[in-house]
Amino acid sequence: MTVSPDARGVDVNAPVPPDDESTTTTGLPSLSTQANTLTTGPVEPESPELRAAQRARLRRRLFGSTPLLMAGVLILIFLVFTVAHPGTFPAFGNVRNMIDDTSLYLIMGVGFTFVMIAAGFDLSQGSVLVFGQVIAAKVMVAVGGQGGWTVAVGFVAAILGGAVWGVFNGLVITRLRVPPLITTLGSLGAALGVANLLTQGQDNTPTPAALTTLSAQLPWGMSWRVWVALLVAVVAGLYLHLTRFGRRTFVIGSNEEAARRSGINVKRHVVKLYVISAALAGLAGMMALINNTTTTVGGHSTDSLTVVTGVALGGVSLFGGSGLMVGTVIGMFVPTVLSNGLISIHVQPFWQQVATGFILVLAVYLDQFKRRRRDRV
């Protein structure tokens, strides 16, 4: 498609500015979350302007950072429960449980982060997880065997099975221009439906014995899925913040029209993002399969919401264009730690839903607030 040079794209930043050019850098906390943290530019002590710019950059990173704020909140929550229940809550076994519970959501959250930074949305992850694990279980039965190779095949099947839904989501969103929320709401239902058709709604697909072994192992003190989640988060974080693909993801989320005009193939890029999201949901399906040694067809209907909550809490903007992978990692722990803590002090765990809900609204409000303060005009 062609773009007219005078097309007035919807650009909130276009209109009339204040006539003040004295300050190039505002001291306000901003949502600048590009990963420029590693380099600090040249040191030129003779240029006060440059140093001011560097100071501003540092200030933005330290105080404008939602992940840092959320890390503080997380530590606070942890301390409160530790004081309330010093015996069991901070014990290693319990902390391990919390990390383990979070790891599954984290794998999905990593994919969601990519999609959301590009101003997209993926509600379908919970169902794609189920679809992935059902495919994995079926394929492992078909391949036969009880050993490690069968499990490896299962991993591939789960990831590919998930990725199919990503292709579907991406193509529908970019080619048919159905809004992401509706498209993935559709595949949320459809993926689960297909999984139920394949299993008749039963969780009795047999799984190889090697799965049970894996499930019981605790290498370096944590379960396998924690290490997988960590690896996924680190690799994906580096990819998001250091590569051209990652940079373009931010550009698309920030101003899709600008991305298109600068020659980025936006449609293809967006399809890739949904594939990443769905493939990781498939991987999470395999991890859940390992953990439970059985499919859990009925157990993931609200996963997507938990994932959105964690990602948003971590400071990834719902409007796209900004966010940090480390934020997702931190944000994803908040609901789990709350839930675990409330159980350990014998409060009804339903309160966790109440608390997480309000914290989510607050986090998004803060995001909006900072955005408004940042945007001149």
Partner: protein, 251 residues
Amino acid sequence: MTALLEAHGIYKNYGHVEVLRGVDFDVRAGEVVSLIGDNGAGKSTLVKILSGVMPPDRGELRLRGEPVQFESPLHARELGIETVYQDLALAPDLGPAENAYVGREILKPGLLGWLGVIDKKTMREKAREAFVSMGTDVKDMDAPVAALSGGQRQSVAICRSVMWAKGLVFMDEPTAALGVRQTRKVLDMIRRVADQGVAVVLISHNMPDVLQVSDRIQVLRLGRRVVEYGRGEADVERLVGAMTGALDTVR
């Protein structure tokens, strides 16, 4: 001196509406040419044709003396023709340096580059150099563009285009949303850009701006170039007269 980009006898119809009826246009390196005309005169259609957004129905385009056909805006860009859009097309969450390199990211050398790792430091340095050479007052290469003033955003968009233009920059209403002081800065910058040898085509409704910055002014009316003024030959009255047809005298 031959024209950098010239158009001869360009025709364009939208259905039965004849928008361009044999327009001529030319711009040389290092000069600012303003293209003005009333709404419907065919300005934006002409610019779309000149910047590769759409092909003409009839007529010839020549780039550096050679006949040329633009297949797309990207193709025109590859040939060194950049456009500063009225809405600027900046990513508000990204900094000036990042915006300058959107779609043209510099990769690190070696294995990291092969993996797609971008060289942020080099991009920031180069962008800063370019911005300083064009005399912008944008200092922080990383602050989100959304946090800049309108004039600064405009200068980021202009600098980006000039960084990449190998000859010609179209600017669509670059001062439309600016205050007096910022307008002056942007006009100064347009002048500096032209002085560096880049051809600038300015599309504007603002007569005083046009008169102040242009080397030549080409007036379109009803799909034709009706008159062309050199520096100092025009005033607001004449321009308005030529645009509206009240002054139908071709000198």
